[in-house]
C-alpha cells in the first residue's frame, strides 16, 4: 500500500551564488558588466597569464562583510583563499580561487515570511540559518555549437559570494520565501543587484526526503545552476515527487548532480564531470590570508539597513499600517524611505500616506514606466523614484489638506493627478483650480440656516433631536449642493450641531 505524500518530509538546503555590486573584478582590475561583446572584459590576471598575481578587491571584501553583518553573522578575524583545481574550459587557470576553510562569513540567519491565507493576512515567519558564505571568482560562460564549445571569459573573475544555508527549508514555498527575503536583504544593503535575467543570482538546490518524524536525513540530490526563483520552486516540487515515487517503488535515491530544464519543467541527471569532486584544494600561495580589522567591521555595521521584516513590524505596530500596505512598502528600500519622508512631513496620518503611495503613486509610476516591475512579481522590484514627479513632502501636503477638510477625498484625486503631471505643490493646484472648500463661516452659516429652514428636512431634524445621531447626515447633502461641493465637511458638521443643538 502506498503512503500519502504527507508521510514524507522534504529537506532543502540552498547554495546561492550572488554577483557582488562592484565595478572591477574580484582579483583583477578588469571591469565587468552584462551584455558586452565576448572576451572584451578580460585582462592578464583573469587569464592567469605567467607573471601576473591576483590582488583582492577591497569593495568585494567589504560587500561580503556587509552581507555577513546584515544576516547577523560573526565576522571572522581573518579569511583566506584556496585553489579549487579542475580541468574545464570555463576557467582559464585550471583552478578557481575560492575559500574553503576560512570563509569571510560564518553563521547568521535570514528571516522569511510565508504567504498568508490571503493577500491581507501575514503568513508565518521563521528563521533560516546560514552556514557560511565565501568570496570566490565566477567562471566563464560556455556555449555549445555543433561539435565544439565556445568560451567567453567576460564573466570569469566576477566577484561571487556563495551563500550556503543549513538544511532548514521544508517546502518549495519556504525556498521561494527564503530567496525573496535574501534578495531584498542583498539589494537593500547595496551588496548585490540580484538581477536574475542577467544571471546575477544562481542557485544550487539540495533536496532529500525522509519519513515524517525521522531524524536521519535521506540521500540528497543537487540540482545545479537554477537561475530563477520559480526554477528553484519547481525543482523542489519535482524532486520531492520524484524521490517519493522512487522510494515508494522500493528503489533508492542516488546521490547525484542534476540539471533543470525550465522549458520542459523537468529535471535530468547531469552527465558526470569525471572526478569533478576531486578538487585537490590547497591554500592559494598568491593571496595572503586577510586580517579583517574590527574598525572596518564597526564602520560597515553603520551601513546595515533596517531589515525588511523589522521595518514591516515597525510600520504595523508603530505607524498602525495594515499588513497589505506595510508589506508592499518594505519590499523596496527606496520606496519605504520615500514613504517615511512623507510621514515625517505629516506625521498625523501615516496610513493615509501609505494608501496614496501603495495605490495611486505606484499605479501612476507603473503607467509612466518608472516602476513597471513593482506591480508584478519581479525580484528585485524595479521601482525608480528618482524620476517620480511628486516629492514626499508634496504628497504629505496633499494628505494634510484632505485631513483638514480643505478639499474632499474626491477632489484630492484630481489634485494628485495634476500633481503627478506637473510636480506642483498641492496648495498651488487647489488654488489654481478653485477647489478650496468653503471655510468662510459667515457665508456657510447662512446656507446652513437656509437648509435647516427648508421643510423638506424637518423630519430629519426631528429625528436628530430625538437622539438619532445619523439623521444629521441627511442635511449635509443639500448644503454641499448649494455650495457646489466646496464646503468644508468638518465645518458643516460643526455648524449643524451648533444650530440644532
Amino acid at each position: 500500500m502506498s503512503s500519502s505524500p504527507s508521510d514524507w518530509e522534504v529537506v532543502i538546503g540552498l547554495e546561492v551564488h550572488v554577483q557582488l555590486h562592484t565595478r572591477a573584478k574580484v582579483f583583477a582590475s578588469s571591469p565587468w558588466g552584462f551584455g558586452k561583446e565576448p572576451n572584451e572584459q578580460v585582462d592578464s590576471v583573469v587569464l592567469g597569464l605567467p607573471g601576473t598575481l591576483p590582488v583582492v578587491n577591497r569593495e568585494a571584501v567589504e560587500k561580503s562583510i556587509l552581507f555577513g553583518l546584515v544576516v547577523g553573522s560573526s565576522v571572522p578575524e581573518q579569511c583566506a583563499w584556496d585553489r579549487k583545481n579542475y580541468f574545464y574550459p570555463d576557467n582559464p587557470k585550471n583552478y578557481q580561487l575560492t575559500q574553503k576553510d576560512f570563509p569571510i562569513v560564518v553563521g547568521g540567519q535570514v528571516e522569511i515570511e510565508l504567504p498568508g491565507i490571503s493577500r491581507n493576512v501575514m503568513g508565518e515567519h521563521k528563521f533560516v540559518r546560514i552556514h557560511h558564505a565565501h568570496l570566490e571568482e565566477d567562471v566563464g560562460k560556455l556555449s555549445h555549437a555543433g561539435s565544439g564549445s565556445l568560451v567567453d571569459y567576460n564573466r570569469a573573475g566576477v566577484p561571487l559570494l556563495e551563500i550556503v544555508t543549513e538544511p532548514d527549508l521544508r517546502s518549495a514555498a519556504e525556498a521561494e520565501a527564503f530567496l525573496r527575503s535574501l534578495v531584498a536583504l542583498l539589494t537593500q544593503a547595496g551588496v548585490a543587484d540580484c538581477d536574475m535575467e542577467k544571471g546575477q543570482l544562481r542557485c544550487d538546490c539540495n533536496v532529500s526526503i525522509r519519513r515524517r518524524g525521522a531524524e536521519k536525513l535521506g540521500t540528497r540530490t543537487e540540482t545545479k545552476n537554477l537561475n530563477s526563483i520559480s526554477s528553484v520552486r519547481d525543482t523542489v516540487i519535482y524532486e520531492t515527487a520524484r524521490q517519493i515515487r522512487e522510494l515508494e517503488a522500493g528503489r533508492t535515491i542516488t546521490q547525484e548532480t542534476r540539471g533543470w530544464n525550465a522549458e520542459l519543467s523537468r529535471g535530468y541527471v547531469l552527465r558526470d564531470k569525471e572526478d569533478a569532486h576531486d578538487y585537490r584544494y590547497f591554500p592559494d600561495p598568491d593571496i595572503p590570508t586577510l586580517r579583517i580589522s574590527r574598525e572596518t567591521v564597526a564602520r560597515l555595521q553603520k551601513l546595515v539597513p533596517e531589515s525588511l521584516y523589522d521595518r514591516q513590524r515597525r510600520y504595523v505596530e508603530k505607524l498602525g499600517l495594515p499588513f497589505t500596505a506595510a508589506s508592499v512598502l518594505v519590499n523596496d528600500r527606496e520606496l519605504a524611505e520615500w514613504f517615511e519622508l512623507a510621514v515625517a512631513a505629516h506625521p498625523a496620518n501615516p496610513q493615509g500616506i501609505a494608501n496614496w503611495v501603495t495605490n495611486d503613486l505606484l499605479r501612476d509610476l507603473a503607467a509612466s514606466g518608472a516602476a513597471g516591475a513593482l506591480l508584478t512579481d519581479a525580484v528585485p522590484p524595479a521601482v525608480s523614484l528618482a524620476s517620480c514627479p511628486i516629492k514626499p513632502a508634496q504628497l504629505a501636503g496633499l494628505v494634510k489638506l484632505t485631513d483638514e477638510g480643505v478639499i474632499s477625498k474626491q477632489q484630492a484625486k484630481e489634485v494628485f493627478t495634476e500633481m503627478f503631471k506637473t510636480g506642483q505643490e498641492a496648495v498651488a493646484i487647489v488654488d489654481a483650480k478653485g477647489l478650496r472648500q468653503n471655510s468662510d463661516t459667515g457665508e456657510l452659516e447662512k446656507i446652513v440656516q437656509a437648509v435647516i429652514a427648508d421643510p423638506a428636512v424637518a423630519k430629519s431634524i426631528a429625528e436628530y433631536r430625538a437622539g438619532n445621531e445619523k439623521a444629521i447626515n441627511a442635511l449635509k447633502g443639500p448644503i454641499m449642493k448649494r455650495t457646489q461641493g466646496k464646503a468644508n465637511p468638518v465645518l458643516i458638521d460643526q455648524l449643524l450641531r451648533k444650530f440644532l443643538g
Binding site: T22, R23, A24, A28, S29, S30, P31, E37, P38, N39, E40, Q41, V42, D43, S44, L47, V55, V56, N57, R58, E59, A60, V61, Q78, A80, F87, Y88, P89, F102, L142, S143, H144, A145, G146, S147, G148, S149, L150, V151, D152, Y153, G259, N261, Y268, L270, R271, K273, E274, D275, D278, R280, P283, P288, T289, L290, R291, I292, S293, T296
Partner: protein, 96 residues
Amino acid sequence: MAEGFDIDHLAKLARLNLTAAEKVLYSSQLTQILGHFQALAKADLPETIDLARVVSESALRSDEPGPVLGAEAVTRIAPASRDGQISVPRVVDDEA
C-alpha cells in the same frame, strides 16, 4: 595504492597520457615528495592559520576598473577561436 596515491587516477585528473616507464618514474618521485610532507605532518603544531602570511586590508586593491586586453588579443593566444570566442572541444553539460 601503498604510497597513498593512484598514479593512473592522478594522470587522468591532470589529463596526462603516461607511458608505463613514466608511471614507474613518477610514482617513485611522488612517493618521495609525499614522504617529505608526511614527515612535516608529524610535527606537533597548533591548528592555526599561517600567521606569517597574514596581511591587513591595506593590501587590498581599490575597486577601480583598469585596462582590458580586448577580444582580439585574448583569442590570439588560444589554439583556436571563432567570433571572438575561444573554441574548445565540445564539453557537455546540457540535457543529454
